[in-house]
Symmetry: C2
Subunit: 237 residues, 2 copies
Amino acid sequence: MKRYKREDPVSYALGITLTFEMLNYAPEHSRKVYIHSSMERGESFKKLEELCKKLNVPMEFSDKPFNILSQKENCYVIGEFEKFRRKNDKNADHVVLVNPSNAGNMGTIMRSATGFGVTDLAIIKQAVDPFDPKTVRASMGAIFRMNVAEYDSFEDYEREAGNRSLYPFMLKAKKKLPETEFSSPFSLIMGNEATGLPDSFLNVGTSVIIPHSDRIDSLNITIAASIALYEATKKNF
Amino acid sequence: MKRYKREDPVSYALGITLTFEMLNYAPEHSRKVYIHSSMERGESFKKLEELCKKLNVPMEFSDKPFNILSQKENCYVIGEFEKFRRKNDKNADHVVLVNPSNAGNMGTIMRSATGFGVTDLAIIKQAVDPFDPKTVRASMGAIFRMNVAEYDSFEDYEREAGNRSLYPFMLKAKKKLPETEFSSPFSLIMGNEATGLPDSFLNVGTSVIIPHSDRIDSLNITIAASIALYEATKKNF
């Protein structure tokens, strides 16, 4: 076992909570569960053992993976899973991340999207690795419930995503978020953390701005995406 | 010079952008600007030099503070400032953080609050250090434009904050955010990252929930605070 790399066919869920999410929502991709020697053999362990047995996922008792994969103390369980490819649902709402560059941010957006009932994420490359253990951790396991698909270009995405309403979020947009009506299926499109979306997106669907004071340059990308998700889905809750 | 500690009377703005924010918005608290030997003597340097001269803030040319204070490469400027205490404005809207435990989250919330025109932050102890360089960095300098005040208890805060509408954000609340009318001056009250607000806050003002699917336990605290800020202030933008 070595440090995680993007080209590896497997990735890891660090910690017992994430490992349960992996087993419950991606059982077909769960390959192994590692148990640290300091793990207490209490209720949680029993539940984990039963679930692994039921799903036919082997448990391995070894401290080595923890030294390699986890910097955190108190991490006594690691789930190993095959990276899965799921197609985006043409009839569902999507979040689209164009050239995202931060694994933690991507995971946090997965968590928010799942929270607001949007379980399709489209990633336009170049992009950070959606299966990086940091992404998995920041998603709090939401990644296992989502359809995450990667595309080489936005044009490729458009071609495959079916007929839908596109809402790129940009500082140069004219339409203010509180005045925007969202019609499903929709795509909320967010740009790179540092550079935002290119101006060409002003010609894509209805571009939207989250108005804010000029005392800050922009909102953090996870904040902007989550506010967009909240506003676009709030009639459902 | 030593590593930053909470009990120090000064803290640091790491990087040139943050240092400009410090000089522009907290000139009376700016004590010194450190310049790394790798800093190019271009336009930015000239502007910085002029501003320091104008404000009578000494520049010190030394690489040592960078080795001690900054893990990042490409950090060639550090601003040193006295920690300042400003009172919360009784007539303004506030964000109140009860027992916040993460410096980065606190800074991100400062940035969102400033973005939505709320420049008063009340912190109820026990709490993470609002002047930690990590907070300063995550705030993107917003901290220098804010009134940040700490209180020993929520009762102390209520006593000093004047007559206002209180909105604690809790998963057990009955009022849904999209149906909530906010009347100024208001306080948006957020709990600890892991534990949320204690049940006693159900009896404080109007408790509010941000409805989301049961596929996640809760939203990230920075996300919840920012959505609350967006909804409570959107009529102003």
